[in-house]
Symmetry: C2
Subunit: 226 residues, 2 copies
């Protein structure tokens, strides 16, 4: 797996056709992937381009941009199992009359749970991107959500994986293949009350991120979608 | 992997010390596993006995019996994510005052969902075991929940996997390694209203099993646990 020569120039060209605001970020992402091509996730779709090709860079420009389109929470489309209501009534002393409402609210709660991870990435991106980080939207990089180019202080790329919970499914850790460390952080604990913002890997960023800030972001973001 | 000589006799001895009512069923199970040793699931626990040994037969007798001990539904022990309530209020127009109740009922619903598969096995066992089938309780057989010994009509063992839903996680299909077909059936559809009892593999049994019967079983069973 190797990226074409002048991949960064191609990235700039292609992204300028999709979304001018994302040219800088996408160029950085492609520079990162050119250095660590094994970190690229396999593109989905049957007619997928081979990683590192001009076509790949063109197609992923769209994926990168579409990953940022606002996503609405939605309850699962699956049919609820009526036996759940039977169990609620027979064992948990729920009144028969409440089972329909509980079924609907349970579905809304699942819809809400399913989008927390997405909202978390968006909130962190809103703080990190103005500060030199790149949000790897569109799941283009394996197990990595944010990257930061080398700077005066650091000689190497920094990469970061964020998860909503300590027991969220682990993306297959590609740290070894990637050839660079992936910093990992999770927001909440499955067995402990409270959040983990204080332990955010970058201390400068930790002071800018908080549960209160996340809550405000979520509220505003969702109200704007309604 | 090979079972010790006279595995069936050892099974009878060992089970008689655990639960006399289960001697017949356990002997059948061990006979089945002696014929298809690759169908045995790997025993859990660090000091696990090697499959087919006397110690294995002794330990699994307890596992087989303990798999039948009634299990109570319980809500997950994990801490709920408060951001779910924020999403319910900001996007799904739930009133702030209702979020606590919804959180509790959502947890009960998850607890109920988590036990439906177990209840399904128990209901089917209640109908099948008096008719010559063996419930493979304790997950001793890979991907198989029920077995039936050869009879006048059928020369081979029948094995059956039941799932609650067409999209339930698939137990790693061991059909090929097992060397015998596993009949598969699921109760509900994730995308279609209604149940699938009419398609239960054995037509004689299909007439004895129904959604109504399952519901009655669940109601009585859970009320007896309370």
């Amino acid at each position: 797996m190797k990226f074409v020569e002048s991949a960064a120039h191609i990235a700039a060209d292609e992204m300028s056709k999709v979304n001018n605001d994302l040219v800088y970020a996408y160029v950085q992402l492609i520079k990162f992937l050119s250095l660590y091509p094994t970190a690229a996730s396999t593109p989905r779709g049957c007619s997928s381009a081979s990683i590192g090709s001009v076509e790949y860079i063109r197609k992923q420009a769209r994926v990168f941009s579409e990953g940022r389109v606002p996503k609405k929470p939605k309850p699962p489309k699956t049919i609820p199992d009526e036996m759940v209501s039977v169990i609620l009534v027979s064992y948990f002393e729920i009144s028969e009359a409440d089972t329909g409402r509980i079924q609907r609210e349970h579905a809304l709660s699942m819809g809400a749970e399913n989008i927390v991870g997405d909202l978390l990435e968006r909130y962190i991106a809103s703080i990190l991107e103005p500060r030199g980080w790149i949000w790897c939207s569109g799941a283009i990089v394996k197990a990595v959500d944010f990257i930061k180019p080398p700077s005066d202080r650091e000689e190497v790329w920094t990469s970061l994986q964020v998860k909503n919970r300590d027991n969220s499914e682990n993306s297959s850790s590609s740290a070894i293949r990637l050839g660079t460390d992936i910093k990992k952080w999770h927001r909440t604990f499955s067995r402990k009350i409270g959040s983990n913002w204080g332990a955010f890997p970058d201390p400068t960023l930790a002071s800018l991120l908080s549960e209160e800030g996340f809550k405000e972001f979520v509220t505003k973001y969702l109200q704007s979608l309604n």
